[in-house]
């Protein structure tokens, strides 16, 4: 009942013309960058974040969230038509989607992807709406030790699933923690790691690192290769995009499977939409009557991963909005955005900012409808975006990145730091260091240090406070188990296999 009242209030916010407009801008931009291979939602949100400073926070959140879930719709287009995943989460969609396109059913594959994204995306929002308020109430009992343990658990999950080498993921996270502690200490007046320059007294702005590592790192990585893939012909006309009844019937279980698995994986930090799409594809194949046909172009092989990918959005917003703990690079940037606007996601967010929380939830219902309407008839148009040449696109990304950083502070020193972090992002890609743990370490570093030091103040320096409280002890034990899991050969083989099949 409470949720329904909240939702009604949310629709009153989301349906205001201004918010409808920003929702549209968000899902449209999201679809466009989802279509463009090599430019992900994390990079786009980071680049556009500084431009939202002057907007009302609710409109800004609605737009940035629109980019987040819109990109997932767009990502499937390149996967199906080009066999190039626009986003890492679309890797699995390539398997059957591209095969369908080669058989001349590309239109139907795109249609199924859009319908499945709509169904599962909506289920994900319903899940968010129902799960977030009780979880927030539960989290109100948390104190510093629980928060420290929760953040440790979140980081452990991200590290476990970030890449083949856990040592590299851990190191990336530690570098993030180090960058987070630059500047004046929270509790004393000690200035830490400032290299003797006053520019670093306030620390390094999150936006600079995010844009550098995600946007510039991605473009520099793409610069290594010059060619572009060949595009399969884009089907024209709405009729060719509609799947047949038989195809839809084959997908019924996949819609449910994708929705549920995507949401559950989304709630868990670290796993993310790539893992969600992979698992739901695996489940779909396991329960299928004709598993041998998977990979040859079966519609349910498109519906399940695309659904999971979109349902994951709603799930991933649960820990972000109720606990203030992001589970991926993109949600970490959303968290930074909230903090920049002076909002602190956490258990009190729904109570303190109901119009923002419920407005966002309602806007996601609206956004999903917009995406369905946009995507079905406009897929041929969006596919044209693929014809934009790299040499036109990349300078524009450099320009927007630079403006994004310059508008934060008006400081040329920050622009120079952007170049430094761009190089770091590229080198991390080259040397196989995952970037998500670095960004999460950076975003959570301050809060984690604060929680740890406050806990120890509560206990007069006794570390056992972290393990003597049941909730915090459970979470810390889980975190340790996760980190030591790969030492067991069988578990590690499973982990690497999962990551490899993810591409």
């Amino acid at each position: 009942m409470e949720a329904l009242l909240g939702l009604a209030q949310g629709f009153a916010v989301a349906l205001q013309p201004m918010n409808l407009f920003w929702c549209f801008v968000g899902v449209f931009l999201g679809t466009v960058i989802g279509v463009l291979p090599g430019l992900g939602p994390a990079a786009t949100i980071a680049m556009l974040l500084p431009l939202t400073y002057s907007m009302p926070p609710t409109s800004a959140v609605i737009m940035l969230a629109g980019i987040y879930y819109g990109a997932k719709y767009g990502g499937s287009t390149t996967a199906i038509l080009l066999n190039v995943p626009g986003e890492s989460a679309s890797v699995v969609t390539c398997l059957d989607g591209y095969q369908m396109a080669r058989k001349g059913r590309g239109g139907a594959a795109l249609g199924i992807a859009a319908i499945s994204s709509f169904v599962a995306g909506t289920v994900g929002v319903v899940g968010l709406m129902l799960l977030a308020p009780p979880l927030a109430k539960f989290a109100l009992t948390f104190s510093s030790p629980e928060y420290f343990a929760l953040m440790s658990l979140g980081l452990a999950m991200v590290v476990l699933l970030a890449g083949a080498s856990m040592i590299k993921a851990l190191l990336a996270m530690l570098v993030g923690l180090w960058i987070a502690s630059m500047g004046i200490d929270l509790f004393s007046d000690a200035s830490r790691f400032t290299f003797g320059t006053t520019h670093l007294l306030d620390g390094i702005d999150f936006v600079i690192v995010a844009i550098g590592v995600f946007a510039l790192g991605e473009v520099l990585g793409n610069m290594e290769k010059r060619g572009q893939g060949t595009l399969l012909p884009v089907p024209k006309g709405l009729r060719n995009l509609l799947p047949t009844m038989a195809e839809l019937k084959a997908c019924r279980f996949a819609f449910v499977n994708g929705s549920v698995i995507g949401f559950i994986i989304g709630v868990l930090p670290g796993a993310g939409s790539t893992i969600a799409s992979f698992i739901s594809y695996g489940v779909e194949k396991a329960v299928s009557r004709h598993p041998e046909k998977f990979g040859t172009g079966v519609p349910e092989g498109v519906a399940a991963p695309e659904g999971a990918n979109n349902s994951e959005t709603g799930g991933s917003l649960v820990p972000l909005l109720t606990l203030g703990i992001p589970g991926s690079g993109t949600t970490a940037i959303l968290l930074a955005a909230f903090i920049l606007w002076g909002l602190r996601p956490g258990p009190l967010m729904i109570q303190d900012n109901p119009e923002l929380f419920w407005g966002l939830v309602a806007s996601m219902y609206v956004g999903n409808v917009m995406l369905l309407v946009l995507n079905l008839p406009l897929i041929p148009l969006f596919a044209q975006i693929l014809k934009i040449r790299d040499y036109l696109l990349y300078p524009i990304i450099f320009g927007i990145s630079l403006i994004g950083v310059y508008t934060v502070s008006g400081s040329l020193f920050d622009c120079a730091m952007l170049a430094v972090f761009g190089l770091l992002g590229y080198l991390m890609r080259r040397l196989d260091y995952p970037s998500a743990p670095l960004i999460l370490g950076l975003v959570l570093g301050d809060s984690m240090e604060r929680a740890l030091r406050q806990s120890l103040m509560m206990s007069s320096g006794d570390l056992s406070i972290l393990v003597s409280r049941p909730i915090s002890a459970t979470m810390l034990i889980l975190a340790v188990v996760l980190l030591f899991l790969p030492l067991f050969r069988k578990a590690n083989t499973w982990r690497i296999k999962a990551l490899e099949e993810n591409g």
């Binding site: 004393s188 036109l392 040397l431 030091r453």
Partner: protein, 156 residues
């Protein structure tokens, strides 16, 4: 062709990170670790500094002791790396030029460089794109959004 026996990237990056860890610990030793009020500013950095040294040494040791795990991986694409680093250097140069010639000029030059040098596009087409980019950015960011960008001696 046999691959080198260990992954040079891992060894070098591991060594750099170990050095960073040592730097963090050395710096943190200048601040108090604990005080009467609880942990001091050095408390957290010492922990992650030590973790960084241990993990990076494990990374180096792992790649030296367990050589040639890379089963038939493609040889390093030095040409590609050169391309990426050249573009990075051009970007860094355009940042350095911001307060000399202003954002729009420096952005147009970067576009020109990427198109002509990196992609071998015809000069005329590249000049049109570079000017178009600069004008487009001026219209969107300066006129429409009212942002102030670094200006050069010509006032734009």
């Amino acid at each position: 062709m046999t691959q080198s026996t260990y992954n040079k990237g891992d060894v070098i990056s591991g060594a750099v990170l170990a050095a960073l860890g040592v730097y963090i610990i050395t710096e943190a030793r200048n601040w108090s670790f604990t005080s009467s009020e609880g942990p001091g500013p050095a408390f957290f950095p010492i922990w992650y500094g030590v973790a960084m040294v241990v993990l990076s040494l494990l990374l180096v040791a792992g790649s030296v002791l367990r050589p040639s795990v890379n089963k038939g991986t493609a040889p390093t694409n030095w040409q590609g790396i050169g391309r990426a680093l050249t573009v990075w250097a051009a970007f860094a140069a355009s940042v350095a030029l911001l307060n000399v010639i202003g954002f729009l000029m420096s952005f147009a030059l970067l576009t020109l460089f990427i198109m002509v040098v990196m992609y071998g596009r015809p000069l005329k087409q590249s000049v049109i794109a570079a000017v178009g980019n600069a004008v487009g950015f001026y219209l969107v960011f300066v006129l429409a959004l009212g942002l102030s960008l670094p200006v050069g001696p010509l006032g734009f």
